[in-house]
Amino acid sequence: MSLERAILSPWRAAGRGLHESLSLVVGYAPIAFSFGVIAVQSGLTPWQAVGISLLVFAGASQFVMVAMMAAGSGGLTVLSAVLMMNLRHLFYGPALATRLVALPRRLAPWLAFGLTDEVFATAMAKGASRPLEPAWCLGLASGAYLAWVGGTALGASVGAGWASDGGYVAQALDFVLPALFLALLAQAWRRARWPVVAVAAGATLLAMVWWPGHVAMLVGMLAGALVGSRRLRAECSQEATT
């Protein structure tokens, strides 16, 4: 019985992760659809568009990649731009590892492949209240990946003649990702952590004056986490003396 439970448990955790990826699916599908449309309009075949989503799985940098390829940029230039944009992901793995109950080696590559901004944000928001099971994270990332690839395929195949008409439904979909991040913030919110949020938001806003969004985000993340590391140490010291 205990053996059966031990075998089923990761599957149940993965199922829960998949279920909780629904909010990500809602956020990803329209963006992936747009990516499929734009990729085909830029001259790629539907298979090429889907191939990029299958192999790269990194939202914003895929748009940049297609735009640069369409503009005739060289291979190394495109590659450098994509990797520079994704450098912020360097910090996601170690941060996620602090919230995992364990990290089996065989699961690490799969977890890493699915570690996008949104998957990371969702996992960290959930991880603020309880340790995360790796299988749960895999379920979460799988839902996001399927939505991303499926949305791209749909956009690339049926969306070629589709253009955003600026309708209210399309506008509502524009707000899905900000809404998702806000809900995640509310879920992970602790009163003592407000300086982390304030500094990260302020630094991102300020950095956007000089740098593109992906650099500004990196600056904001690091500034907020730096403040967080000092604050958390102060909180720990306070707890120890009381």
């Binding site: 944000a121 960290m124 991040f181 304030a198």
Partner: protein, 108 residues
């Protein structure tokens, strides 16, 4: 470099950027030092930065008071639903619905 070569290299590079630090992260996660606290705060900081990025993208699409009101109403709806039901998916959908409906109500 061929077209598929670029795509495969971009995918492999992105994967390694995510994978290699994750492996070292298991060692860091066991520590109690400042780096561990830094990593613990990184998630919340990333969420805050993502909110600023995504909201500013929306704002610059139509930098007008109506856009500000829509954003405020959508955000309020998200926070209200998240407070009433700890369901991120529902809060997201209701927030997006309110944002879309506010656009219709506030239209010229």
């Amino acid at each position: 470099m061929t077209w598929w070569g670029i795509v495969i290299a971009a995918g492999a590079g992105t994967f390694l950027i995510r994978y290699l630090p994750l492996l070292s992260g298991t060692r860091l996660a066991r520590g109690e030092g400042r780096l561990n606290r830094f990593l613990g705060a990184l998630g919340l900081a990333a969420i805050a930065a993502l909110i600023v990025l995504s909201v500013s993208d929306l704002w610059w699409q139509a930098p007008h008071w109506r856009g500000g009101v829509r954003l405020a109403l959508g955000a309020a709806a998200v926070l209200l639903v998240q407070r009433l039901t700890p369901n991120v998916g529902l809060a997201t959908l209701v927030g997006a619905g309110v944002y879309g409906a506010a656009g219709w109500v506030l239209a010229d």
